[in-house]
């Protein structure tokens, strides 16, 4: 059980009611996409490119296959626009003439027999005229081979506060370093899967495993030239996403719909197997960062310069916004008068990198925090003390100019984390131990960080989200929202919020299936926004719904029992037929953001945290083994402590994988180790006890004070672990992750 440091006096909020979807999942009755049966269903398959860059010369279909039984789709069969509508319009649903990365979809096949469909994939032969490929950030920026815009750069950001250049010559100490974070596979348990039924008369309906039904909806309309109401997207029980089902499902959804359209409206199912999923779908953006920092002798941070470059892959997809979040987390929770942040996302001939829990922030928090550890070692100041001397306090300005309106509480979180992990005792004991032991080296280190909740900058205003509630026939309340349950517990926390506001039992709240024909567009299920932003829309809708009932005279204004509420609902429905109440996003007052100068309040709310990693390295095998992990954070009000702790534990485990185990081996820009046998995730034997502590400082614009927390735990572990490795190796920094045993051996020899 997580340790929640204040106990709210609520009936549902802060308690742990059973999850809304648990019973179905535990008993196996939940229907995931591949469990759904459709009469006359065809099995769709994707023929993908096998070169990173090339012109398609010829597509041929090997004889000996009954091609007349197949539905075959190429770019020419597309009724509307061959373009995935996201931020830019550069990615086709099917390569047309040119392929820009390995595993790019070129031809689609469907057949009633799954085995036949499977076999036929290898019988389609695509001939290419190969073109020179760009496979690294360096090659992309070298010029010469330009494949996007004038310079292969998708997007650049610049943040400037003060003038670091004027500080370098005057500072006591200037420390520079270069860091690298590798790609990472989301590895949701359920692979990508969709079913589509599409025809000119019936329109397009898609069922699928996904985070954001309205993203798919937006992507399919131009593909078929159809208006809003002729495209319908229905969420099915989804076995995890982690960002991997944010933008990607639009592709298989479009593919299945194109096949169905050509097959006269027969349902078409596309389910990737694990290998195809790992080979072809998005990963976390790799990122290369240079950090330069100036200090006084006693550790005051005078100036900071961060220069980060992310590999975006072959299409823009979400790279510009991933980069934005990376940019806005690059300076950390520190007060510094002179800061410059320069970032860019570049084109390479890799499959597009995409959304992944943390969304760019882990990639820039890692270099900064590890750099501070390095600086502490070089300055001879304890790493926690160096942080303490530079923390942001009330009244300080972040690099974006955002003024801290209140204390972050970060120093308290740090002491708590140090206390729980026995940090000070351990640093002393481990130094002693490492002096005498050659077989086992021990390390302990911390990282401090924040994570901004909700969309960046003015993003929430542009989203213009809407969520609502309706009364059901039996007098209960149903949530109408497009936000999906992907294992993170959103159906449960939303229901708790609504039950609390309406003062009705949790059991009287239901959640409508996110179906674009039924629910309003409450925005995507991403960015740690679902509980905080959408939860608040639902709380307001609940408040409005109560007011409507009271005003109609059906409900007393001064409290009610569940049966009184039910009776009131019944009375209302009898008189008026139905009751649906919606609420729309309103930006919190005094939050403003300037996209041109990148100044203002980048996020309305931040979660704050200090994590401590404790590990040892076996010097016979060079394997770093986690021993203990303490995660202390302030996330506003904790709506469901068990779910919240589960989010933190899962995120920490995922970040341990990123830091120590998960190595995406790229060849020709694409993953080689697309199997669980050689893409190594940590198991419970490799992860330590993860001890989770929450502080609650209720946030006035979140539902009952909640802020976002889903991505936070992805941010802190990697730099804490890398710093603990450095500690164990006698202050030897390994500036790249994953830190595999092979990396450690190379570093020490």
């Amino acid at each position: 059980m997580p340790d929640v440091l204040t106990t709210p006096a609520y009936r549902w909020v802060g308690h742990n009611p059973p999850r809304k979807e648990s019973l179905e999942k535990v008993t196996g009755s939940a229907k995931y996409l591949d469990d759904l049966k459709f009469e006359g269903c065809l099995h769709g398959k994707t023929v993908r490119s096998t070169v990173p860059h090339g012109r398609i010369k010829k597509i041929s279909f090997e004889p000996g296959v009954p091609w007349d039984e197949f539905t075959v789709v190429t770019a020419r069969d597309i009724p509307g626009k061959n373009v995935v509508s996201l931020i830019e319009l550069d990615q086709p649903f099917l390569a047309d003439g040119l392929v820009r990365h390995m595993a790019e979809p070129v031809v689609l096949l469907a057949h009633p027999d799954k085995g036949m469909a499977e076999k036929a994939v290898k019988r389609v032969h695509i001939e290419y005229e190969e073109l020179p490929a760009i496979l690294t950030i360096e090659e992309s920026l070298a010029g010469g081979n330009i494949q996007y815009g004038k310079d292969n750069i998708f997007k650049k950001y610049h943040i400037q506060k003060g003038d670091p250049e004027s500080v370098w010559p005057k500072a006591d100490v200037v420390i520079e370093g270069e860091y690298w974070t590798g790609p990472q596979e989301q590895l949701y348990i359920e692979p990508q899967g969709v079913v589509a039924v599409a025809s000119p008369t019936g329109g397009v309906t898609v069922w699928g495993s996904m985070q954001c039904p309205f993203y798919v909806h937006k992507g399919l309309k131009p593909l078929f030239n159809l208006p809003d109401d002729r495209v319908r997207v229905i969420y099915t029980v989804t076995g995890g996403g982690f960002g991997g089902k944010e933008e990607y499902p639009t592709l298989p959804a479009g593919h299945a719909a194109l096949l169905s359209w050509k097959a006269g409206g027969r349902p078409v199912k596309i389910v990737y197997d694990r290998m195809e999923d790992m080979w072809a779908t998005t990963k976390r953006h790799p990122c290369k960062t240079r950090v330069k920092a100036a200090f006084t002798k006693d550790g005051k941070l005078l100036a900071l310069k961060v220069d980060a470059t992310m590999d975006g892959g072959a299409y823009v997809t979400l790279s510009t916004v991933v980069l934005s979040r990376g940019t806005l987390h690059a300076f950390g929770p520190y007060a510094c008068d002179h800061v410059v942040i320069d970032t860019r996302a570049v084109f390479t001939n890799s499959p597009p990198y995409g959304a992944f829990r943390g969304f760019g922030a882990p990639q820039t928090i890692f270099p900064l925090e590890l750099h501070l550890h390095r600086a502490a070692c070089e300055l001879g100041i304890e790493p926690h003390e160096l942080r303490r001397r530079n923390l942001l306090h009330q009244g300080d300005r972040m690099a974006t100019g955002q003024v801290m309106q209140e204390e972050t509480g970060l120093e308290g979180l740090m002491w708590k984390a140090m206390d729980e992990s026995k940090y000070l005792e351990k640093t002393k004991a481990y130094r002693e131990h490492n002096r005498s032991s050659t077989r086992i080296k021990k390390g302990v280190a911390l990282a401090l960080f924040f994570h901004g909740a909700g969309f960046t900058g003015s993003g929430e205003v542009f989203l213009d989200s809407k969520a609502g509630l309706e009364l059901t026939r039996d007098g209960a309340v149903r949530i109408l929202s497009a936000n999906t349950e992907i294992g993170q517990g959103s159906f449960t926390t939303h229901s708790q919020i609504v039950a609390e506001e309406l003062r009705i039992p949790y059991e009287m709240v239901e959640v409508a299936v996110p179906d674009t024909a039924v629910v309003p567009n409450s925005g995507p299920t991403v960015a740690s926004r679902t509980c905080m932003v959408v939860g608040e829309l639902l709380r307001r809708a609940a408040s409005d719904l109560k007011e409507v009932l009271v005003k109609s005279g059906a409900l007393a204004g001064n409290g009610h029992t569940p049966s009184e509420f039910r009776a009131a609902a019944g009375k209302y429905l009898q008189r008026f037929g139905e009751l649906k109440v919606y609420s729309k996003y309103k930006p919190p007052p005094d939050v403003s953001w300037d996209d041109k100068t990148y100044t203002g309040s980048a996020y309305a709310a931040y979660a704050w945290a200090c994590y401590v990693a404790d590990l040892e390295i076996d010097m016979a095998t060079y394997q770093a083994q986690m021993k203990d992990f303490v995660a202390v954070q302030e996330v506003g009000r904790v709506i469901h402590p068990v779910i919240a702790a589960g989010q933190i534990e899962g995120g920490v485990a995922q970040a341990i994988g990123w830091a120590l185990y998960e190595d995406v081996a790229l060849k020709q820009g694409v993953m080689q180790n697309c199997q669980l046998t050689n893409y190594i995730l940590p198991t419970t034997a490799d992860t330590p006890p993860i001890r989770v502590f929450f502080y609650e400082n209720p946030y006035q614009n979140g539902p009952f004070g909640a802020k976002g927390l889903g991505e936070l735990p992805m941010d802190g572990p990697a730099p804490a672990i890398a710093a603990a490795v450095a500690f164990a190796l006698g202050d030897r920094i390994i500036p790249r992750i994953p830190i595999l045993p092979e990396t450690i051996l190379d570093a020490i020899s």
């Binding site: 499977e118 290998m275 095998t621 060079y622 034997a685 051996l745």
Partner: protein
């Protein structure tokens, strides 16, 4: 599933004779034991379509583990000890779980349960066989090194008869074995080491459990009165293209007293003897260094430091 099940046939003979007769066809059917290697290929779409020979239907191949008193003979393992050495026989379908559950095997051949508990997890251990591990001939096979360190013999049967091949002579190259296509492994015979023999087993995988080996050492040493190394076996998995017995290093050690000088000589010898592989799981450099570290650890702990 990338392969289509329709492309595969399975035959289930009722007797060993029938099974061996079926192997004389061309092409011979492919033996199917626990299927834990075969099914992986099937799932990846890399399994050759064809006929498979179900070994489970043959009672002779399902015999339980047998422990017997061995015949004393001057040249074999443990000849100097007081007790006559025994022998353990695994049958073709003996699984890792069978070995983990067998109290006598745990006592007599402690490296076998150690290896067994680090192979896959319970599902695999309950299904996968030692003979399949040998026949599959993966350089990363974890069951083979301890068997080889124990001087196991492979019993190969065909319609023409039975022959015994020392496991350390079984491999000659990557996926190259002494088994002819018409032969089945019908048993594995393991002599019980001399009393007082010291063993060492360490698997270094890509993570703690559920991992394929990057380096593995199974070692067995028999020491004489004045710490003289009478006999030593050093068997590595995942370092060379096949399970590798480091004969050169063994011979440098045999006859020598176990002392720090011998350890560094052995490590130096091993460093030149091994020509490690570089693959998706690790680097040659890492394998060489860790193999040497494991040898040092084995000899060091044997010396009591």
């Amino acid at each position: 599933m990338k392969s289509s099940i329709a492309d595969f046939a399975v035959i289930s003979p009722r007797t060993l004779a029938e099974a061996l007769a079926s192997l004389r066809q061309t092409p011979p059917p492919v033996p199917l034991a626990g299927g834990t290697d075969i099914m992986v290929l099937l799932n990846a779409g890399q399994l050759e379509p064809g006929v498979y020979l179900n070994l489970y239907s043959v009672p002779e191949l399902r015999r339980p583990i047998e422990v017997s008193a061995g015949v004393r003979d001057a040249g074999t393992w443990g000849a100097g000890g007081a007790d006559p050495p025994g022998e353990v026989r695994l049958s073709a379908l003996t699984t890792y779980a069978d070995v983990r559950r067998h109290a006598e095997v745990r006592r007599l051949l402690p490296m076998l349960p150690l290896a067994a508990r680090e192979i896959g997890a319970v599902q695999i251990q309950s299904r996968a066989t030692w003979a399949g591990n040998i026949a599959n001939a993966s350089p990363a096979a974890d069951g083979v090194p301890p068997l080889m360190a124990y001087d196991a013999t492979v019993e190969l049967s065909s319609a023409a008869g039975v022959r015994q091949v020392a496991l350390s002579e079984f491999y000659s190259g990557y996926k190259q074995t002494a088994r002819r296509p018409d032969e089945l492994i019908t048993g594995i015979r393991i002599p019980v080491p001399a009393p007082g023999s010291i063993d060492y087993f360490r698997k270094v995988g890509t993570r703690k459990f559920q991992a394929i080996s990057k380096v593995l050492l199974a070692g067995l040493v028999e020491l004489g009165g004045s710490r003289e190394i009478r006999k030593i076996r050093l068997v590595f998995a995942s370092v060379m293209p096949f399970t590798y017995r480091a004969r050169k290093t063994e011979s440098v050690l045999e006859g020598r007293r176990l002392e720090p000088g011998a350890v560094s000589l052995a490590v130096e010898t091993l460093r030149t003897e091994l020509k490690p592989i570089d693959d998706i799981r690790s680097t040659a450099r890492y394998r060489l260094k860790v193999a040497c570290n494991l040898l040092e650890e084995f000899l060091g702990t044997t010396m009591g430091c």
